[in-house]
């Protein structure tokens, strides 16, 4: 083939950092705290819901409605309608997608055009940048910056903030969208109402669409509240709210997600859907619908999974925060999400010359060293930063704590060994 391959829209987006680290983690005997998925099963009621979908009407093996299996769009509309205090029409305001990832892609393709600017808050879930580029958009980055912490005090994700003036300066007449992620991956920040109000007022002032990735919406700790920006005055009509069954029900392998929003936006996402995947698998959707029925019944009660899961993960978070400190890693305590990042500056000063490529950020080299020598896998946080900023944020590693008790114990064992090796 002499003709130019691939299509230009793939320029610069072919690299995938996950493949490299996923491969390494599987090659060594490690406690894998890298990729974000639970290593415990989904709750019984969800597993049963899936079983029911498989053993029930055999027509569930066939295509369903392209924009979402009707019982699922119905329950999503009523469940989130209450939360967002918004009348949500299951046919016009809900789109079921192949994971939240699919919802993000569909939104970018539908609304971001050649030359449009998209504001991305750093650190960011890494797909936002390539998705913007693939749509011909121009990413504009604004960074969450930590204020200095007192000696001996642990840093907190809430301490990382946007400078309002800096944020405002990022909006131009070419800004089409801002992508917000709360609770944030990898930092674990839960944006406060005041912070969201600032973002909201700028979006309205500049007539910008807000794409709000809220996959970790149930996973908030320390009494923090998740606020959906779509529920703020004037925001429903310009916001897409994205959610995930995988994260909600600890079933990432089901790949069911959704986008909620006004019909004026959703109709364009539907056009992309019918020209990309068209339908999503039926049975997974049936299982998610059933699972939401369960949650609707138990909403706000101790028996709700959306109450139980964050409570359990809160403990896991605290366990991990304590454990990591024993070897000189300094965790930034997250307010929400599956993840925390740990500051590895001490290691950077003590062992600055770890093996790696000359322009490879320190945290990548550190993670590889940690996998090979300490049996622990994490993800270098620089992959969540734009290329020019990576060198400023090359001293953090992301760990996932949504893991079984036995995994956290295995972590402790690895850390104990590490600690022993630190003694002179």
């Amino acid at each position: 083939m002499a003709k130019r391959l691939p299509a230009r829209r793939l320029d610069g987006i072919d690299h995938n950092p996950w493949v490299e680290f996923g491969k390494m983690a599987s090659e060594y005997d490690v406690v894998n705290l890298g990729q974000g998925f639970p290593d415990f099963p989904p709750p019984d009621f969800a597993v049963q819901a899936f079983q029911l979908a498989l053993s029930g009407d055999f027509m569930l093996n066939q295509y369903t409605r392209a924009f979402g299996y009707p019982p699922l769009t119905k329950i999503l509309a009523s469940f989130f309608g209450k939360l967002l205090e918004q009348e949500i029409d299951p046919l016009k305001n809900v789109l079921v997608t192949v994971g939240a990832y699919g919802a993000l892609f569909t939104a970018f393709q539908a609304l971001v055009d050649e030359g449009d600017e998209v504001i991305i808050i750093e650190p960011f879930f890494d797909c936002y940048e390539p998705m913007t580029l693939m749509a011909g958009g121009h990413p504009v980055f604004v960074t969450l910056k930590p204020s200095p912490t007192g000696d001996g005090e642990l840093d907190s994700a809430g301490n990382w903030r946007l400078d309002p003036t800096e944020l405002a300066s990022k909006f131009t007449s070419r800004t089409k969208a801002l992508i917000l992620n709360t609770p944030n991956n990898p930092l674990g920040k839960v944006f406060s109402k005041a912070e969201l109000e600032l973002v909201a007022s700028l979006c309205q002032q500049h007539d910008v669409i807000c794409i709000s990735d809220e996959v970790y919406q149930w996973l908030v700790y320390d009494g923090h509240q998740h606020v959906s920006i779509a529920s703020l005055p004037g925001m429903w009509e310009r916001t897409l709210t994205i959610g995930s069954a995988g994260k909600s029900f600890s079933a990432t392998g089901w790949k069911v997600g959704w986008a909620l929003g006004p019909d004026s936006l959703m109709k364009h996402l539907r056009t992309v859907q019918q020209n990309s995947v068209y339908h999503c698998p039926t049975q997974g959707q049936a299982a998610v619908a059933q699972s939401f029925q369960h949650e609707q019944l138990h909403f706000g009660q101790p028996s709700s999974y959306f109450v139980q899961l964050p409570q359990a993960m809160w403990r896991s978070r605290d366990h991990m925060v304590r454990s990591l400190q024993s070897v000189g890693l300094r965790p930034v305590v997250p307010q929400g999400s599956y993840f925390l990042i740990a500051d590895i500056s001490d290691f950077k000063s003590k062992m600055p010359d770890l093996p790696g490529d000359v322009d490879e950020p320190y945290d990548k080299r550190f993670v590889k060293w940690m996998i090979r020598n300490k049996g622990l896998a994490g993800i270098p946080v620089s992959i969540f930063y734009s290329r020019p900023h990576q060198k400023h944020f090359d001293h953090y590693v992301r760990f996932c704590f949504v893991k079984d008790e036995s995994t956290l114990q295995a972590l402790d064992e690895k850390l104990q060994k590490w600690k022993d090796e630190l003694r002179p």
């Binding site: 597993v47 498989l54 055999f58 892609f105 310009r238 089901w254 790949k255 995947v277 068209y278 049975q283």
Partner: protein, 455 residues
């Protein structure tokens, strides 16, 4: 004139917008949102919003309608396929993410199966990609390999998504129709529909990036012969063109026909993406799993699209599919193998459907493959005067009339044509026959009553 109007509208709205901001600021009120200028779609989806299925699926959703429209089986998938999925759903680890480009056991099974048809071995990790249905494979292939300004040859009638997907990639579809020469005294067959070689050659030029081939063909049911595929292959090689070969109905070929893979022709492996479908293979369209097979220098670009679109497909479904494949791979020569039993079962249904349509006075085109039959319905001379919207092609009106008055639904074949050539196929309607006997019985009742009414 139009541009000027738009500029005026823009200025007018801008003025209103500024006025609102200004007055709100004075009053200290929050700026309220109003219909904005920027909340408009990206240009890539301009004109791609209408879709034949949305309209006709809704129409046929009435339970009293016998639905021979959309191509989905109302027969049960094989028992072992359902059982496998049930077993797998109970395994914890299979509820979490798997490998993005395809669950390991599935790509391994696919490599093992398809190696039987190719001369080369297939690398499961580098030469296979698992996608969200064959639809997803088409999307990944087009987004990965087709650029703005490219031309893509599409053979008409075409599975309706080819055109919008090509347009969404900013490329230009170039159409060529299958033309038929019915032979007197012989049943009209899908093999009577052919491409004129000279006409086809005239569609290729230096901008031709790809040709989309669909064999067995939806909606006609044509199974391209060796000679026909050779003509296409020769042109692809001559013009250095890619071939995207949609082979979702590959197992559904009827007596006297053989499905051939263009990728196995000399010089074609390196330029062909071959697409398959679990939905069509195992009668599980709702699983939405498909795959692309091809050389790594092409597949890697489809993989790049995957990691920037959906990342990974559902795990339990992929594992169940892998296990179902292993069962049938082990018994490829056995009549019990689903790849053999399904076409046998469908051939009977096909023949029954042909007979029914003939009894109505129609001349259906006997398909050599696939699970659809098309027939020219103008011979019925139905009274469509009460159907509003006279701008619609004849077959659209006919299907709506037939659904409403005869409680039988089908799909208008002009939906599989581009805007300019809809008239060429507007007398044809497509019927799906992968239906259980009771559905075909109900169709038969309707047709018998209709026949009586006519005489």
């Amino acid at each position: 004139m139009f541009l000027a109007q738009r500029r005026l509208c823009f200025l007018d709205s801008r003025a209103k917008f500024l006025k609102t901001i200004y007055s709100s600021k004075i009053l200290g009120l929050p700026t309220s949102a109003k219909m904005s200028l920027k909340i408009i779609n990206a240009k890539r989806i301009e004109g791609l919003d209408s879709n034949v299925w949305t309209e006709f699926t809704k129409l046929a959703a009435d339970p009293s309608v016998v639905n021979l429209g959309q191509g989905l089986p109302d027969i049960s998938p094989p028992i072992y396929v359902k059982e496998k999925l049930s077993e797998i759903a109970a395994i914890d680890s299979l509820n979490q993410y798997t490998r993005g480009f395809g669950h390991p056991s599935l790509v391994k099974a696919l490599a093992c199966l398809y190696e039987k048809f190719y001369q080369n071995q297939i690398n499961p990790n580098k030469e296979i990609l698992v996608t969200v249905g064959a639809y997803g494979s088409l999307f990944n292939a087009i987004e990965g390999l087709i650029d703005e300004g490219d031309e893509v040859i599409i053979i008409m009638p075409f599975y309706d998504c080819y055109e919008p997907m090509v347009r969404m990639a900013g490329a230009t579809p170039v159409f060529i129709p299958l033309r038929s020469k019915p032979v007197d005294g012989k049943k009209w067959s899908s093999s009577d529909w052919t491409l004129d070689p000279q006409e086809l050659a005239s569609k290729f030029n230096s901008k031709t990036k790809a040709i989309i081939l669909n064999t067995p063909h939806n909606p006609i049911g044509k199974v391209y012969s060796k000679e026909e595929l050779q003509i296409i292959a020769d042109l692809c090689i001559k013009y250095d063109t890619l071939c995207i070969s949609d082979e979702v109905y590959e197992w559904l070929v009827y007596t006297g026909n053989k499905h051939l893979k263009i990728a196995t022709f000399p010089g074609m492996w390196e330029r062909t993406i071959t697409i398959g479908s679990a939905g069509k293979t195992f009668s599980v369209t709702g699983w939405k799993l498909g795959w692309s097979i091809g050389p790594n220098h092409l597949i890697k670009h489809l993989q790049t699209v995957q990691q920037n679109t959906i990342y990974t497909c559902a795990t339990p479904l992929q594992e169940a599919l892998a296990q179902a494949f292993w069962i049938d791979i082990k018994r490829m020569d056995d009549p019990e193998c689903y790849f053999n039993s399904l076409p046998k079962e469908l051939e009977v249904k096909r023949d029954r459907m042909i007979h029914l349509l003939e009894s109505l006075g129609l001349k259906p085109i006997v398909p050599d493959g696939g699970y659809f039959i098309i027939a020219d319905v103008s011979l019925l001379d139905a009274d469509l005067s009460d159907m509003k919207d006279s701008n619609e092609p004849y077959d659209y009106k006919f299907v709506k009339w037939m659904t409403k008055n005869k409680k039988l639904s089908a799909i208008p074949v002009s939906a599989f044509c581009n805007a300019e050539t809809k008239l060429q196929f507007e007398k044809f309607v497509r019927f799906c026959f992968i239906k259980k006997d009771s559905t075909l019985d109900a169709a038969e009742e309707i047709i018998k009553a209709w026949t009586r009414q006519k005489s």
